[in-house]
């Protein structure tokens, strides 16, 4: 049971939900690999985690770039001798009404959220096959169900759901489970940037009347990453306080 002594790479883990997930995994005994596209953020997070006594290493990589991803996975394996858990968390959104969206908006959103998940999964899975054990956990979004103004993001996250189910069917025989988490509105630095009256209005419309916190995502990741989660495969776990049921 648990994730002690497993090696976990969490992409986009120098801030927000990814960082909290990495912290909780490290607290529970995993060796964690911190990743971000920003070197200063990676360095700061690794230093913080080392100070806390965690087993940690860091690697800067743009996960939409094949060579960078191969370097990232290579570093993780070289540093910790293997790779058991991959959390495809790095993501971003370029929102806007359909008429205003540009190729750049589409490409960036799809490349980071969808292609990045593909590249990391492809590069990592061979190590898991060799070990007959693996956990691929994709961070999709409740938004894959659709949201006005979110064409590129909803499309990319829907792709992540399709990829999750496909990898679950393809890799399951090798002891690798693939699942995704679909977060709803979570209290992150991005949420705090919204004007207060918008935050109050949005939270009031939620079934629970409040947004989630990064620990809700971290707990869901650890649930799926656990050694005892080997029969959970191909699932979309919505951590959204019921918003997936009704988002009107």
């Amino acid at each position: 049971m648990g994730i002690a002594n497993r090696v976990a790479l969490i992409t986009g883990s120098a801030s927000g939900m990814g960082k909290q997930t990495a912290r909780r995994m490290a607290e529970n005994g995993a060796a964690v690999v911190i990743n971000d596209i920003d070197p200063a953020k990676v360095e700061a997070t690794v230093a913080e985690f080392r100070q806390a006594g965690f087993k940690v290493t860091g690697a800067v990589a743009d996960i939409a770039n094949r060579e960078a991803v191969e370097g990232l996975i290579g570093h993780a394996v070289a540093e910790f001798g293997g790779l058991d858990i991959l959390v495809n968390n790095a993501g971003l959104e370029k929102a806007g009404p359909l008429r205003k969206l540009t190729d750049a908006d589409w490409n960036l959103t799809v490349n980071v959220n969808l292609k990045g998940t593909f590249l990391c999964s492809q590069a990592a899975h061979g190590h898991m096959v060799g070990n007959k054990h693996g956990r691929i956990i994709n961070i999709a979004s409740r938004a894959w169900l659709g949201g006005a103004g979110q064409t590129p993001y909803a499309s990319a996250k829907a792709g992540v759901v399709g990829m999750t189910r496909t990898l679950a069917l393809e890799l399951g025989r090798n002891g690798i489970t693939t699942n995704c988490i679909a977060p709803g509105l979570i209290h992150t630095p991005m949420w705090e940037e919204l004007p207060e009256k918008d935050r109050v209005a949005m939270a009031a419309k939620l079934p629970m009347g409040q947004v989630g916190d990064p620990d809700d995502i971290a707990n869901a990741v650890m649930f799926l990453a656990d050694d005892d989660a080997g029969f959970i495969n191909g699932q979309v776990l919505y951590v959204c306080g019921g918003r997936s049921l009704f988002a009107g």
Partner: protein, 251 residues
């Protein structure tokens, strides 16, 4: 991950069923006090013995969940014994085997619905308002892959689709009360009376190429019964080795 349920009161309906047994054992191991309901008095006694006798931490209630009134009297017993309503409700009623349509009678169909979906509703109707008054709660409704719709199991698919709807509706109705309501769908599991042929056939259809074992269910119940899942509600979540990904109903 060790989920903390220290001193929570868990009511398990259908506790002497295969899944009910596994779940009761794990909830107890995570620190919960247990109220166990089953019409199988002998099975219940054996389970209570395994859990360390009835007493302050284990209350055994022999009654049929199918009977109207069982839910209300069970709740009374729980409050009388533990001084509070349940923190956790698990509807773990056993699932009947499927019958092809031409072997199904109206009575047989009604019995399947009453015994699973109807009995679950009875306990939800009594326990959820009590959880609301208490200001907290975790409800887990068990289902099986028959929910997805399999040939020869129209009655089960219908009854379990009812549970799917109940879960979603009640999750929204009780979301502001710090109560979560979820359905856990159990896939094919290793059972003692299976032939080698049966095991091979079922295993071949599961992406992880093995049948489910007790720890698989227990791990999922621990998550959904604890504070770790406080922002997860109204969900239908499969513990099936990936078999559900072959079906459109699973997303």
């Amino acid at each position: 991950m060790q989920y903390d349920l220290k001193d929570k009161v868990a009511l398990v309906v259908g506790a002497a069923s295969d899944a009910g047994w596994v779940i009761s054992r794990r909830l107890g191991a995570l620190g919960a006090k247990l109220a166990l309901v089953s019409e199988d008095g002998e099975g219940l006694a054996a389970l209570a013995a395994e859990l360390g006798q009835t007493g302050p931490r284990v209350l055994a209630i022999t009654a049929s969940p199918r009977h109207a009134g069982t839910a209300a009297t069970s709740l009374e017993h729980v409050i009388g014994h533990f001084g509070q309503a349940p923190d956790i409700l698990v509807n773990a009623l056993p699932f009947p085997s499927g019958i092809g349509l031409e072997g199904l009678t109206a009575e047989g169909f009604a019995a399947t619905v009453a015994g699973t979906f109807g009995a679950a509703f009875g306990f939800l109707r009594e326990v959820l308002p009590a959880m609301r008054r208490q200001g907290r709660g975790r409800v887990i409704n068990l289902s099986s892959v028959g929910y997805l719709g399999l040939p020869g199991g129209a009655d089960i698919a219908a009854a379990q689709s009812g549970i799917f709807g109940l879960t979603r509706s009640l999750a929204l109705e009780y979301a502001k009360d710090r109560i979560t309501v979820n359905t856990l769908v159990l896939g094919d599991r290793a059972m003692p009376d299976q032939s080698e042929e049966d095991v091979a056939r079922r295993t071949a259809a599961i992406p992880v190429k093995r049948l489910g074992v007790d720890d698989d269910i227990a791990h999922a119940v621990g998550f959904f019964a604890s504070d770790a899942s406080k922002y997860v509600t109204g969900q239908t979540f499969f513990v099936c080795g990936g078999k559900s990904a072959y079906f459109s109903m699973s997303v």
